[in-house]
Amino acid sequence: VGVSKISRDITDRKRAEQIASRLAAVVESSDDAIISMGLDTIITTWNRGAERTFGYTAAEAIGKSVTMLIPQGSEDEEPRILKRLLDGERVDHYETVRQRKDGSRVSVSLTVSPIYYGGKIIGVSKISRDISDRKRAEEALRQAQEELRRHAETLEQQVADRTARLSETIQELEAFSYSVSHDMRSPLRAMQGYSDALLEEYKDKLDAAAVNYLTRINRVASRMDLLIQDVLAYSRVSKGEVQRRPVNVENVLADVIQQYPDLERVRSSIRVHSPIPSVLGHEAYLTQIFSNLLNNAVKFVAPGTTPKIDVSATIQEDMVRISLVDNGIGIAPEHQKQIFQIFGRVYSEKKFEGTGIGLAIARKAAERMGGSIGVISELGRGSEFFVLLKEVA
């Protein structure tokens, strides 16, 4: 019995030694710094990880106080950790900074556990993981985020500045067109009014030349008034938000045709081929577009020709294509872009009167409604003007 007990004791001790040496090997080979120390803070063990992390060899470190690793200004940290431990708390992944032998700092994640002997805490083991790389990455990320935030702020500021400048410009433009509409038209009214008064009140005293001159003054004044009104219409169409609503195009066409004497049945033949689907648009803009297009179509015809216009519609994907085919004089390819520009007229005023702004207004109006306008034509073969607008879903 005695022998077997002794041999068992020996076997147990051997096994314990084996386990201890294995554990020591594990500790020794760990990348983390693993240190143990007494409650007096004196270091008792020091692995290779600790050597790598803090720069002290085991011979240098063992027997010294662990406070040599604490940077200046954090001296109260070690007593605090010890106190927490003695109070039975755990200290896990406590992130802090330690000082290496060469004085440089290292960010570590600290796990501290008590060492018991006979039910009493006799010391402390500390595992410090070097988290400098992670800290650097975090810092880089923080800086990148900061940079990004500053960029976004700058951008926002730029947008705000530009918006402010733009709205200032718009306000100035509005003030300008307001003043045009009020102030620039009144001298014209005076010109027309006084020449009318002369023609009426002094008719007997004026010879044919005088009457002719006065009539011309009158005519240019009224032309100038038309120009101003068209420029104002153009600027009105160009600004402001457009609320799109479903609009019945057939009704708009009927109204336009009824409103303009030149579009009457006697002077022209306009045929609207039903059905013309409703579109998403703005009624006033659509009225402007169709009155400009139809009045152009009846105006630009060869002498002696009765204007003929066919209005029809097709669906192209989610757009309605409204087409106006006329028997007019047509437009040469090189002029087809120009006519949609402001003052982009092709013929002299003497030949075809007008301000040269109508199609520019129509183009702007179509674009403001999210649509477009175009022409297919050949000189002498008539024209097809078309308007593309969103279909009512």
Binding site: S177, Y178, S181, H182, D183, R185, S186, P187, L188, R189, A190, Q192, G193, Y194, D196, A197, E200, N218, A221, S222, D225, Q229, L232, R236
Partner: protein
């Protein structure tokens, strides 16, 4: 007793005043016409202030022709002032302006204008307007008597 209605024309442009007076005469309107040249003067006239205090010489008008673009106080300010006075809240105000700006039109009606007319460009159109005015506002329209 029927007294003939007075017309007040608020207009700073002397050409427009001349042409308007000519058209009113041409249409055969015989009502007395008073002209004031800015917004403040219009307010002074209507409130009987200063040189307008004698109502025998400067009676309260039945109709005001109001231009919008006026020196000192604009037409919309005058209109706002008129509608803020209990004794003038039913006064007929016809805005007569060069502007066909949608914002002016909307504001005028919102502030209580009775009519909004864009000044016609030619003398004959102005004469037509004066005739129509005479026919409608002076012959058919009923005014509340402002005491």
């Amino acid at each position: 007793m029927t007294t003939i209605s007075t017309i007040l024309l608020v207009e700073d442009n002397e050409d427009d005043v001349f042409l308007m007076e000519r058209a009113i005469k041409g249409a055969g309107i015989i009502n007395p016409l008073f002209v004031v040249e800015d917004g403040q003067e219009a307010i002074d006239y209507l409130s009987g202030a200063g040189r307008y205090s004698n109502r025998d010489i400067h009676p309260i008008p039945s109709i005001v022709f109001l231009d919008l673009k006026l020196p000192i106080k604009g037409g919309l300010d005058v209109l706002r002032w008129i509608r803020s006075k209990t004794e003038l809240e039913t006064l007929v105000v016809i805005v007569l302006t060069s502007s066909n700006e949608p914002s002016d039109l909307k504001q005028s009606y919102r502030l209580g204008a009775n009519s909004y007319v864009v000044k016609p460009p030619t003398a004959s159109q102005l004469l037509d307007l004066a005739k129509a005015f005479k026919w409608y506002w002076l012959q058919f329209n009923e005014f509340e008597k402002v005491s």
